[in-house]
């Protein structure tokens, strides 16, 4: 069970209160009609799926009901930081 710090509610809550939103920082293409099939597929289906540091979205379903971002290690599952949508992570890199 992960304990996740919600940056809106400002406290640690149990994983069951949240739902996972997938990789963060994926911008929807501004002009979808100009994209090639490959670029569109890349936006829709292809994810980084790293073994190590991962920036991802979480939704606090039974709390503030808002999305936020987290930086998590996908091997140890340690959550290194959580931060507001629209801001950049402090911790970057790919170390496992």
């Amino acid at each position: 069970m992960l304990l996740i710090y919600c940056p809106n509610c400002l406290e640690h809550r149990e994983e069951e209160e949240f739902s996972y939103g997938g990789e963060a920082h994926i911008a929807r293409p501004l002009n979808p009609e100009t994209l090639s099939d490959t670029q569109w597929a890349d936006y829709l289906f292809f994810r980084k799926n790293p073994r190590g540091i991962h920036h991802e979205m979480w939704y606090h379903a039974t709390g503030c009901r808002r999305y936020f971002n987290a930086t998590r290690n996908t091997v140890t599952y340690e959550i290194l930081e959580t931060y507001q949508v629209g801001t950049q992570p402090q911790i970057t890199g790919t170390d496992a």
Partner: protein, 416 residues
């Protein structure tokens, strides 16, 4: 390879079973091979076997970072069935099921394939409509299946609770009598032994750390024990597929997630079939040893840690107690996780890549074990002939660009 038989058992009994032949060799890697298979799980070993047996390609190495069959092959719940909705998937899994039916004889190794039947329960009207549709599609594809009533379910699995007063009452099920289970370790060992006997080499405790390319074609793999040359490299690395693809500068549309399972203490025989439920989300069978083998849901988040969250186990056990109130007093012995590579359409990728001589077989997600023989068969054919096997054609990597997905999420039997 000395054949296993009743006679060999008797003969070896006379020497106190001390003179059995080693099941496979443990060679030091050669400088180069025709084909290097990355990943010594069930699918990789099956690929090696069919490369040798069907295509006569025996200069093959299976490179495994741990030990053979020690990853997801050893972590699944061993359920085998072929009742998939869409033609492409149904044909692939049915090929696999047909291979299962003769596998022990083919490999001269008892994989303990037991056709005890698989029930997929329906708990609401929409479940039942989906089940009717899937069973009809199966029958049109020549796959056995029938829609059964709660009374018939009770006859098949007497301990099940079909009371209309339960929280999620059982309205019916699909029943595939030819489905069942097999001994997962034996599958890996049987394929490894048979492939080894035909000349393939098992290189264990050797981790692939890079894929060397020259002029857009693969020339070999970098490993923790040095470079191994190869004309073709076939990657079958399940949860780590994305990591291996990145070594060749490729991206895959897979995400790696923990999938958990658990077993109970051994109890007397009480469940001689496989019961799966999409709506309450659990699946259960009983092993020959007597353990109840229970599959949980996949964790929602990406991970490589080979363990999952406890609350997923809790939900699964709740579902099992709902279906089988008698099991509420059974203690659980062990719980573990494996890393499954899930595709957006819940179907595998069996494909050539943009790098010449590099092939991927991945994305099996939560349902790879049942496909082991068929996956190895079509992948070996794809690698040997450098073009997709007819049954693998639809499972190419390009489907994510063209949009021709094979959406098996609804038919996967459980709501992963």
């Amino acid at each position: 390879m000395k054949r296993y038989s009743g006679f060999s058992l008797l003969k070896n009994a006379l020497s106190y079973h001390e003179n059995w032949q080693k099941v496979w060799r443990n060679p030091t890697p050669k400088r180069d091979y025709d084909v290097v298979i990355v990943g010594g799980g069930g699918h990789g070993l099956a690929t090696a076997y069919y490369l040798a047996k069907v295509h006569g390609i025996t200069n093959v190495a299976v490179v495994e970072k741990g030990y053979l069959g020690g990853g997801n092959t050893a972590r699944n719940t061993t359920i085998i069935r072929s009742n998939y909705l869409w033609d492409e998937a149904a044909q692939l899994y049915e090929l696999s099921l047909k291979l299962w039916e003769g596998l022990s004889q083919d490999l001269n190794y008892n994989v303990m394939f037991s056709q005890r039947g698989v029930l997929n329960l329906g708990h609401n009207l929409q479940d039942m409509r989906d089940i009717e549709r899937r069973v009809s599609a199966n029958r049109l594809n020549g796959i056995d299946g029938e829609v059964v009533t709660p009374q018939r379910i009770k006859e098949i699995a007497p301990l099940i609770n079909i009371s209309p007063d339960s929280r999620y009452p059982i309205l019916g099920a699909s029943w595939q009598p030819r489905g069942g289970t097999a001994r997962h370790d034996a599958v890996a060992w049987g394929y490894a032994r048979a492939a080894d006997a035909l000349g393939a080499e098992m290189i264990q405790q050797t981790e692939v750390t890079g894929i060397r390319r020259k002029d857009g074609a693969v020339v070999g793999v970098e490993t923790s024990n040095g470079f191994i040359g190869a004309r073709k490299v076939a990657c079958v690395t399940a949860g780590n597929s994305g990591v291996v693809a990145a070594m060749a500068g490729l991206r895959l549309p897979v995400e790696s997630r923990p999938l958990q399972a658990l077993v109970s203490e051994p109890i007397k025989p009480c469940l001689d079939t496989v019961v799966m439920s999409n709506a309450v989300h659990g699946y259960i069978s009983q092993s020959d040893k007597g353990d109840l083998v229970i599959g949980a849901g996949v964790d929602s988040y990406n991970g490589y840690g080979q363990r999952g969250s406890f609350h997923v186990v809790e939900h699964t056990v709740q579902a099992i107690c709902e279906l089988f109130p008698a099991f509420s007093r059974v203690s659980m012995n062990r719980q573990w996780g494996g890393i499954v590579d899930t595709c957006p359409d819940a179907c595998p990728i069996i494909s050539k890549t943009s790098v010449d001589g590099l092939y991927f077989n991945c994305g099996w997600g939560t349902g790879g074990f049942k496909a082991t023989p068929g996956s190895g068969y079509v992948f070996a054919d794809t690698v040997a002939n450098d073009r997709p096997h007819p049954l693998a054609e639809a499972f190419n990597l390009d489907r994510f660009n063209t949009g021709a997905l094979i959406d098996e999420h609804g038919a996967a039997g459980v709501a992963h």
